[in-house]
Symmetry: D2
């Protein structure tokens, strides 16, 4: 009486002599032909990228690999301090924080752009940009993908990403739109609000036709690569233990001074 | 009186207009020039790979991206079922299981090969292989990186990886040694024990000079890419809920039959 | 020029001979006097519970410890299969899925109740319940904390939790309100929609005055306890490997039949 | 031809009106009767603790809930900074580091004691202690469960835990043995090496008959409770962002001074 269950994957399968991934013979058609970014593209689209897609997609994920000492890198290093035998768990800890605040702005920007201009529609981009900025201002929400605490007046990754988009044929209406949104927001707010790297990548995700829900995945793939590098550095030149002791000392200083005061 | 703390990273830094990663200007020297696998190589070595290194390293990590419905992919999908708003946490859950049993054999194989033949030594490879196999047999330990439950008599990825190693100049003594270890183990055990994909990658990690402690990192980087693909498929064609209900029903069937028996 | 940083914790501190937690001498005032649930109450309120608070809070978290073979328990078991040396990472994997779909309904229900009746206000509860149900119906949203796929017409945990609330003095307006919401929803929908365990706990969180944002934490604390039990069972009577092979076989069955068809 | 798969759990099951956990009717026999620590005992032993077991086990886990600003608490707080919508993932990140270095010493100590004196054997405890200490010194390994960087000459939790063990009947040969091991190690090394809290708990785990492999689980259960408290404090009085900026500034200071030097 149990209803029929269907469990099905179309990603891959294997038998004694063959391994097939997204319909391709893995050893002969993928291995040695695709790079790691191409595999990411294959996972997200089910097909092997052409040369332009490969160059653009790799640039997008490469942008997200390494952002130096981030909260995510620190969480991974502090985890490694306690469990050096489980490097995979330290990377996992670092990934857990790639949520709404940092990497999430990629998907926020892609969603904003798709909402403003659904795939297949054409419109007056300047008008859409004005409407979008006004909507966010009215709802008192931060516009995702523009502005940067450090990189001003330009996030240096953005012009480079958009130049690669020009060269590879991905500089379309969503790229135009995100630029117009930033200009409009700068005009209305009087602040420097450049399209930042996650905004550029959000727009390029739209150009590539990715679901906005999966855009965060580009950051997750990429950061896993960078976190392994941080753990290698941590294994050779540790900082986690110093971070811990320094923070503990500062954060409990008021107790110790209270304690001394009482003892006096 | 607090001892001097030193916290230092050599990975990267930025200011308002510049972003530097491993000494390279990120926008002009890395973005659009390196692919995602090259970034992994940069993270592990601190330098940009040449063409041969790029091809070999990308092949190694590409091998580890997608192994279909693994325990890791299932853990990620089951996590996504409960927290679809936190895709990063579902990938993290999937990575947590890349421990000693599966991906860990890369580092196990690399360590075995380095222990048997430290970097810079030369010796009679056949003798080293015999000694190594005998040592593992005596200690009743499984030799890491050889044998496969499904792929027999050959793991189809291994000859392809070793062919790429020939083409790129990475087919050295550690590749020879792992092949000799497998042959010796087959001879003594009478079983089919081909060098498997993690064994091939372990040997190639030695050829590239990576610390054995970091070898697991190749699997972690790679699998993060594959897990995003599984979550995209899960979002479109879910199986986690069916897996859950099916397992729950089977695993508690004895309770329900006891319960019916008591009611009779 | 750097702005003054302040890092401060009020949770605890120690020196060579003393350990203080939330202002209490840990060895003499907490150890041997508080149980594990009381520690949870102390963490959430900063004070030691009285007898009624202890009984109620322990009942709330105990309810969330063990729900059998859940997606969370399966994710933990599948992770343990690959990394048995990292039990902590298997529990972490299991916790990652306690998001919006399952445990999140505790906070959803608490937020709904607080939104409908802010702390310190009094109103006509029946009217608030009607308004709340109508608002959710209008927005086509599921009302959190009512209805259960299996437990009908009553979730057997709910009357017990509310009986303990009566005995301990926690049966106040939020408990009344959640019951009225469920009745109203049943009346309008014509379906059985009992207050479920997470709904009861959400209402009791309001009675206790917890921030709705922290309510998910009760589920996280509790489930960590249960997941350790699942991993102990998995270590003695494993099921993860069977789950994996069974799912893999079913999910790739279409490939194998295609493959056979081609071979014919 | 597929071998018969068996998936079975003995933990619990439910139907429309009943929920059974370890053979007990959950609503009537567990809810309102057991505290959270008792649930942990039930998960680890399959039976409800008596009053002495309840008191002892709760004391053991309560000891492990809150250790202030640990690397684990920092990892959780840094994760929460990026993904405040996923508190469960922040707790998971914090748990990932409970590995060999910190909480792992509980299982290390329990294993040492079981290895030295298997369950059911009786021997000259002083001789066993001497042999054990000599074996660790010969292998140049740290003896797990003794010594503490801060708490000297006594870890204030240990005498309290052992006093509760006296009161509850759990002060047996493993407690004696760990004390003798510490004395012997102090004598031979000339250093202060008190039995620390994890050593005391390791010995008490042996008195309770737990598998050494599961001892880490007590720390995992307990710390999940404490981490929720840290995240609540982080939500009200954040420190993660300051930690991040402070560490980033210090760790990249050499770049900035190099950069200024070049610009001069």
């Amino acid at each position: 009486m149990t209803p029929k269950r269907e469990m099905r994957t179309d990603i891959g399968w294997s038998d004694a002599s063959r391994i097939t991934v997204f319909g391709h013979d893995f050893p002969s058609e993928i291995l040695g032909r695709l790079n790691l970014g191409d595999m990411g593209f294959l996972e997200l689209t089910g097909r092997i990228p052409n040369a332009n897609e490969s160059r653009m997609f790799n640039a997008m994920v490469v942008t997200l690999v390494e952002h130096g000492i981030t909260p995510s890198a620190l969480a991974a290093r502090l985890t490694y301090l306690g469990a050096p035998e489980s490097m995979q768990a330290a990377v996992a800890a670092g990934l857990c924080g790639l949520g709404s605040v940092f990497v999430g702005s990629i998907e926020g920007c892609a969603k904003m752009l798709y909402d403003a201009m659904p795939v297949g529609t054409t419109s007056d981009l300047a008008e859409i940009a004005r409407d979008t900025v006004q909507r966010f201002r009215k709802e008192k929400k931060t516009i995702p993908g523009i502005g940067h605490p450090l990189h001003k007046p330009v996030d240096p990754r953005t012009p480079r990403l958009f130049a690669i988009a020009d060269e590879t044929g991905f500089s379309g209406p969503y790229v135009q739109l995100v630029n117009l949104v930033a200009s409009e927001a700068e005009k209305l707010s009087g602040r420097l609000l450049p399209v930042n790297a996650t905004g550029a990548i959000g727009a390029l995700c739209c150009e590539m036709g990715f679901d906005w829900q999966i855009c965060r995945g580009l950051g997750v793939m990429a950061r896993a690569v960078g976190l392994v590098g941080h753990l290698l550095e941590e294994s050779r030149r540790p900082m986690a233990s110093q971070v811990w002791h320094m923070v503990e000392e500062e954060a409990t200083a008021h107790f110790h001074s209270d304690s001394r005061a009482k003892a006096d």
